[in-house]
Symmetry: C2
Subunit: 363 residues, 2 copies
């Protein structure tokens, strides 16, 4: 796939620089690293990962890259002593290895740090491109879907437990319990939203203080093993509140409409429009930053927010994409509600990876 991309751009190599916290870098290398490394792939199908000496053995065992070379192999220590500057020495190594591969034209992904691009430009013809790995990542393989399903199942176990044992008095206590439960099973959830009262009208408010009538629970952990995310929201009603429940009925209805439309070939823009129309038909207007103030959904994978978006923009949804469907309504005088599932786009519909009851009344 990458060789084909290079041919299309008449380029000899593509170069990536990052750590495994960069989803494209991890996808390309399958190597977990905190410190940023460089990966180079060539038009002849060759690829190479450049690592510090002491990571070499681990990289040989764990990464999917064919050739692992260490900085020592490349004479980095001598360059460092000569130049007295780690960045300069590193850049000289990169230029040398590309020259050795007879690179003429080099592809640089958009997110490449500028200091590397500016140096490489001096030595090679460069073209800045959208990272081809981010394009590959949009359609999930069945093994990737299974990883997202695994994280989804962890969410479902945890939410089931939280609902059955609901005795949380504060947003902070609820968040801590849920995140600890997930962590104990090997999943990292940060900034889990447990928001309540009027402040839940801010969709990104994570919530604090005493739980009032309702809680918007939005949890999006990643597996600490395979690093894939899933994303899930339910609005829990702790005490009766007719106004919030009316709003929630509308978002569940809008979500069902969206889920019924999602299938291979549908335009994401039409799904987003259907959500807006359904909320409007329930009498909920969007204006002056209130109402349905975000998009309908986003891709989920090695990042919790990735392509494709389900928004105003036209994007064809294709089978194998994994997206969230998450309508919400937010009014500062009342509060916010949201429902969200992570789904796989299939040929004739979609498969919900996070099936869980929509209406959860705890009173």
């Amino acid at each position: 796939m990458i060789a084909e991309f290079l041919r299309k751009h008449s380029a000899d190599f593509i170069i990536l620089h990052g750590s495994s916290s960069n989803a494209n870098f991890y996808y390309a290398t399958k190597f977990k690293t905190y410190d940023p490394l460089t990966y180079i792939a060539g038009i002849d199908g060759s690829d190479i990962l450049i690592v510090p000496e002491m990571e070499k053995k681990r990289a040989e065992r764990e990464s999917r890259v064919k050739e692992i070379v260490s900085l020592n192999d490349l004479g980095y220590m001598e360059k460092l002593k000569e130049l007295g500057d780690a960045k300069k020495a590193y850049l000289e190594i990169l230029v040398a290895i590309l020259k050795e591969g007879r690179c003429r034209k080099l592809l640089i992904p958009e997110e490449m740090p500028t200091y590397i691009s500016f140096e490489l430009m001096k030595h090679f013809e460069v073209e800045v491109v959208k990272n081809p790995f981010s394009t590959l990542r949009i359609i999930k393989s069945s093994s990737e879907v299974e990883k997202i399903r695994d994280t989804s199942n962890a969410i479902l176990r945890c939410v089931k437990w939280a609902v059955e044992n609901f005795s949380f008095r504060t947003c902070e206590g609820m968040r801590r319990a849920i995140e600890l439960k997930l962590f104990s099973e090997g999943y990292l959830a940060e900034n889990t939203i447990c928001s309540t009262g009027k402040s839940s009208a801010d969709p990104h408010e994570i919530g604090k203080g005493e739980i009032e009538e309702h809680v918007v629970l939005d949890v999006f952990p990643k597996s600490l093993d395979h690093l894939y995310y899933s994303d899930f929201t339910r609005t829990l009603f702790v005490r009766e509140n007719a106004e919030l429940e009316e709003m929630y009925k509308a978002v569940v209805d809008a979500q069902e409409k969206a889920l019924s439309m999602i299938r291979d070939g549908v335009d994401a823009k039409d799904v987003h429009q259907a959500v807006k129309d359904t909320l409007n038909s329930h009498g909920f207007k969007t204006e002056k930053g209130e109402g349905f103030i975000h998009s309908t959904g986003h891709g989920v994978g090695l990042e919790v927010h990735e392509e494709p978006r389900i928004s105003e923009l036209s994007v064809e949804l294709k089978k194998g994409m994994v997206v969230t469907v998450e309508p919400g309504l937010y009014y500062s005088k009342v509060g916010g509600v949201r429902v969200e599932d992570t789904v796989v786009v299939r040929k004739n519909g979609c498969e919900v990876l996070t099936p869980f009851e929509k209406f959860i009344k705890l009173y």
Copy 2:
């Protein structure tokens, strides 16, 4: 400080783009965000953070930036509809806001994504600079030291608990217990090293399988509240092993030598050399990728590895820097040992933030 930096470079503005997983971006804005945002600071002391509409209120509450503007305020939605491309629309917004500020010369930090730099270059004189916030970050304020001390104290409580209740049979079980204990207190440790046997000769091997004679426990959590790290290693002896204990005595001795030297004004290179000399004087050679195969230490703060490095390179250590001191010895036929503390450089010495007994014999 930033205004002064801009004056020195005869520039009008500096522009940063990132999320709070970028330490410089978080340091500059004190705003926690998953999605990348743009921050612009001007020579007149003005600064501005550009956020999505729904983050505006939270940014006004939480960030330290004076002026918060939303993408909607800047006409992003109209641009997006007009251009049909989120990145292009975003870049047009950035160019417009800089032009409105009458920018002529713009500073771009080295790590800025290339696609942004290339666009800005078309409209302004640009200079690529080392991020001035990364320079500011090297010297910690007393409040930053207190945050690193807080994380250090969490490590000490956790290690004390692990040592007192040591009944771990496997590396995985020990790692899970320690990480869960830390997480329950609000600290995130990932890839905690609990390595044993000969595979501990690879300093980055996190460890697997049954615990043999010893465990190298290297734990480096960050606070989920204030985001500051600390870094700590002890080699625990589970059963007697004279060879490993001999090696450990040498690294403890080398560490004590280094700690006795660290103070305001010392050259890090000399500290590193003293560690090498001490290990040599104990008869432990470094050659062919075995022995003391890494540097003596690194800065700790919002990143677990940051400036300064204590290595072959000449760097003056200054009061307020926080660094690790972590000699180790690694021989593939025996295994590895390491001791590590996080310390603050003071005027006349250093303060160890992670005081804990060095020799831990569990047999």
